[in-house]
Structure formats: structure tokens, C-alpha cells
């Protein structure tokens, strides 16, 4: 497992504890009390570290190579998942995956951006950067859910829509725009979760929802801190500062009223405990589904519209 810079001191302490245990075992010396103290201290220290991470550090957790992906969550949160492939027009974009499944007793359409955990997977999933055809596949599945009255769950972890020639030729902007508009028209509950990177229109294209949640260390922004730094500061190395300025953390977005809740991550980040993470996420999603599933479709649509209608801060 990859170790982030700020995780290193913690890893060091844990190594020390391990050594101590080994010494104790081989020498027969009783150091239980000492180890306990060390472990308590280590936990305290860890808690402190993770409570005081800078946005730039949390960015690293959000982008962690071992962070659970869409398919991990599907496996851990749902049963009977059946993937529905393709846009019915010429492509099955692997950066967006979707299908039907059960979460507890409820049939849902679940859709998300998919990232890889190694180079091969990353090439398959195009680093989680969808093509227009991915958004159109998602739209097809939204309409499927709408027709069969299933709630929609979207899980988003993307550095953005893919900026390529073919993507421009096949109408990347239009594909995202159409999803924004059509999601507004859906008659079924839509629950979106930013699980890792929630970057730009590429994320929003799956996230016009009745409820939007963020995992604790995920981020959601109009532009990547790197992109912002290189445009506004004309210096990509200012990404850390940009990350601060852009206010991209889950706490910031909750404060701005953009999201409806934060799903706490296991200490150290989602990658430290897949099962707990998936379980907590599932609970949050199910709570939202129970809240929304008996709301009539007109109210649902109106509430969704009004929610986005109110977004923005200006003087009058």
C-alpha cells in the first residue's frame, strides 16, 4: 500500500511498537503496559494528524491509489448487481459504469465513475475520465430508472471529463449539459455521493440530485487546484494554496449549503477500512432513500429545482 508523506510518522510509531513486541516476545520481558501506552499515544497522534490535515493533504487521501472505487462499493453495498453496458450508439465507456442492483430490499439504478488501481486498470477506465458516450450511457440508465420507478444512486470520483479530440468531436459539453437538464426532470429520487475527486462539470454531470453527500476526505470543485494554480497564479506549484483558496473540502461545501451531509471516513481514510466505509455509506444512502421514496414525483422535482435555484451568492 502506498504511504503518503504525512502518514510516515504514524507508520514509524507503528513500526516501533512492532519492534517492541518482538523484543518482548524473544526476551520474555513484559512490556504490555508500555506497548499499550505507545498505542494509545499513536492513536491520539493519528487522530490529531487526521483532524488537522490541510486541504492539500486531504487531496492526497481523496486521490489515494488504494481508495475504494465504484466497483468496490457496488460489491460491498449491493446485491444482485447487473451491469448495463453501452450507450446503444457505438460505445461502452468504461469510465462510467452503471447497472441495476439491490441495496437492502430496494432496487436501484447505481452509476458511477470508475478508476483503476494499477496502470492496466487505469488505462481501461481512462483514469476515471468519462467521454461524452459515458454521460449518454448514464442518461440512458437515468431514464431506465425513471421508467421503472427506481431510485438512482451515483458515486462520483473523477478528475474531470476527458479532454480529448474525440471527446470534443462527439460533444462533451453537450453530453454534460443534457444530463444536467434531464436530471432536473427525473421523477425518481436521485442520491449523489462524491467519493473521491469531484472535479468540474465532469463530476456535476452525474450529480444533480435530491441529496448530495461527500465522503469526509473527498473534494468537490469547479477546477482542480493544479489547474486553478496554473491559470490564476500561473504557477502549478501553487496548487496547495489554490486548494486552500478554492474551499473544496466536505466541511466547506456543507457550510456553503451545497451538500446535504458528510460521510465520516475510517481513521486514516476510506482505504484503511473498505468494509466500514461501504457500510457507513450504505447507511447514509438508505436513510436518504427512505426519506425520499414516498415523496410524490412532482414534489421531488420541485424541491430539486428549488434547491439548485437557490445556489449562488450575490449582492442585490
Amino acid at each position: 500500500m502506498a504511504i503518503l508523506e504525512f502518514e510516515k510518522p504514524i507508520v514509524e510509531i507503528q513500526k516501533k511498537i512492532q519492534e517492541l513486541k518482538e523484543i518482548s516476545e524473544s526476551s520474555g520481558m513484559d512490556v504490555t503496559a508500555e506497548i499499550e501506552t505507545f498505542e494509545k499515544q499513536a492513536l491520539e497522534y493519528k487522530k490529531e494528524v487526521y483532524a488537522n490535515l490541510t486541504p492539500a493533504q486531504r487531496l492526497q487521501i481523496a486521490r489515494h491509489a488504494d481508495r475504494p472505487t465504484f466497483l468496490d462499493y457496488v460489491k460491498l453495498m449491493t446485491t444482485d448487481f447487473m451491469e448495463m453496458h453501452g450507450d446503444r450508439e457505438g460505445m461502452d465507456d468504461r469510465a462510467i459504469i452503471g447497472g441495476i442492483a439491490k441495496i437492502e430490499d430496494c432496487s436501484v439504478v447505481i452509476i458511477g465513475t470508475q478508476k483503476g488501481k494499477n496502470t492496466k486498470e487505469n488505462l481501461t477506465y481512462n483514469f476515471g475520465m468519462p467521454q461524452p458516450q459515458g454521460y449518454r450511457k448514464a442518461l440512458r440508465l437515468f431514464n431506465h430508472a425513471n421508467k421503472f420507478n427506481m431510485p438512482i444512486v451515483t458515486l462520483i470520483d473523477t478528475p474531470g471529463a476527458y479532454p480529448g479530440i474525440k471527446a470534443e468531436e462527439t460533444a462533451q459539453g453537450t453530453a454534460i449539459a443534457v444530463n444536467l437538464r434531464e436530471m432536473a426532470k427525473l421523477n425518481v429520487p436521485v442520491i449523489a455521493v462524491i467519493t473521491g475527486e469531484g472535479c468540474s462539470g465532469g463530476a456535476l454531470g452525474l450529480a444533480v440530485a435530491d441529496r448530495v453527500y461527500m465522503l469526509e476526505h473527498s473534494y468537490y470543485t469547479v477546477i482542480s487546484p493544479e489547474g486553478c494554480a496554473s491559470i490564476l497564479w500561473r504557477d502549478a506549484s501553487m496548487a496547495g494554496t489554490a486548494a486552500e483558496s478554492l474551499k473544496i473540502t466536505s466541511e466547506d461545501l456543507l457550510k456553503f449549503g451545497i451538500i446535504d451531509g458528510i460521510v465520516k471516513e475510517p481513521l486514516g481514510g476510506a482505504h484503511c477500512d473498505y468494509e466500514k466505509m461501504a457500510n457507513d455509506l450504505k447507511e447514509t444512502i438508505m436513510r436518504a432513500i427512505y426519506e425520499l421514496r414516498d415523496v410524490n414525483s412532482k414534489t421531488l422535482r420541485n424541491d430539486r429545482y428549488n434547491k439548485y435555484r437557490r445556489m449562488g451568492v450575490f449582492c442585490q
Binding site: 471527446a167 462539470g201 469547479v222 442585490q316
Partner: protein, 290 residues
Amino acid sequence: MTVKDWFEQRKEMQIARRDKETRIDDSVGNLWVKCYHCNAQLLKKEVEDNMEVCPKCGYHFRINARTRINQLFDEGTFEELFGNITTADPLEFSDTESYKKRVTAARAKTNMNEAVISGVGEIEGELTAAAVMDFEFMGGSMGSVVGEKVTLAMEEALKREIPMIAVTASGGARMQESILSLMQMAKTSCAVAKLNEAGLLYITVLTEPTFGGVTASFAMLGDIIIAEKDARIGFAGRRVIEQTIRQSLPADFQTASYLMKYGQIDMISDRAGLKPMLAKIIRLHKKKKS
């Protein structure tokens, strides 16, 4: 160098020039201007009388929102609405300069409150709601004010049951408002959904340049999408794509005619033809009174 190479190089140079500046260069004196496209020296007055189109090569220079409104709407009919809405700075954003200062400077430079003018007016006698963007105001970037004013214009169309026209010119989202600016994409697109549900005609006119968050929201959602001649339109910017794919792009990439070829827009119009085209479309879509 083959002729083809030379031709390609020339095109590339033209693109480079356009990237630098696509408005008229007025540095050559008060009466004269120079066309960046064909290098012709032109009388300022002559260019103005030609709707800010180069009389020599037909190149369409960027124009600001007020000029656009004067060109499109019947004289004296345009009524600006929601002009009192102005920029806040909810993130207290600052990069090499503070957002507040940038806005103040943009206001002074453009004599506008923000990057869009909303209102209602008549086009050949047809009453329409409109939102007209201005690239000179912070690159036509969409923050809370732009999103709000575009949405309000659409709501005005809903209230009065008249067509809605959006004239876009934007580099994308207003980064200084971060997530709030992203949400304007959702807000304006939801408003288009309301127009759709009410069966009202929504026309978008994409002008040089239309990119990023504006492309990926209300710009590409027109029932009819018109691009102005010479406009460049896209989602990702040319440089971002070149950096990603590590190859250079075709010279006509993201031009109006390129978008037409790739099926993304309905029509292309030159500047002079735009007003009659809009009027014709509106009249064709008029519901019979019964």
C-alpha cells in the same frame, strides 16, 4: 516546405494571433485600426459601420454585450432587467490579486456590473427574453451573478410566455467562486428544463469564444443552436487538450464550421444575418392562435 505545410503553418499562425487577441487592435491611432486576421489597416468608423466585421476579409471581431444588443434588438426596445445584481465574494478569494479588486477593475474597464446583460426586447417586432454575455468582463466567466441573471431571464420568458435567447461568450466558470460557480451550471440547466416543460422556444447564439462551464450547460441546450461565424466553441480548451494528448490539433479545431461538421450546432450565421435569422426562427415557431 511544401505548399501544404506552408498553408498549415499560416493557419497555425492565424490561430496563434487569434489566441492572443481577437478584438480590434486600436493601438495604431485613434482613427485607424488593424485587423489581426488579414493585417489590413482599416478606418475605425468603417469597421463600426460594418458591425465590427473586417470589410476586407470578413473576419468577425469580438464585440461586447451592449454592441450585440444594439445589433440584435429593434432600436429602443431593449429593456435591461436585474441590472442591480452584483458580485459578492463569498470565498474571500485572492490569488495574485484579490477577487474584489479584479471585479472592480472589470467594472471600470467595461462599464458593466457583470459579464451578462439580461432583459427583454423586440427582434423585428418579436418580443423575447434574452441574456447576452460579455467576454470583456473577466473573460465572460460564469459566477453566481451570471448564473442568477441567466436564470432570471429564463424565468422572465416563462412569466411572459415568450421565447428566450442566450448569446454566449465565455471562457468558462468563474474560478474565484469555486463550487458556487460550478452550481450555476446546474441552476441554468434546470431553468432550461422549465422552459422545455413549458414548451417555450429557447435559442442559443454561440459567439467567440464559448467554452467550459457555459458550453457544458445552457449554451448547448438550445432548441436551436446558432454559432456566429468565426466563433470557437468547445468544452476543454485547446491547450488543455494538447497537454493531455501530447499532439497538436487541427487548425480548424473547435471552430463554428468544425462544430457544424461534427453535428453539434444547427446553423452558422454571419453577423449581419443573425438578426433576420432569429426573427425567422421565432416566427416559424409561433403557435397559431386558436
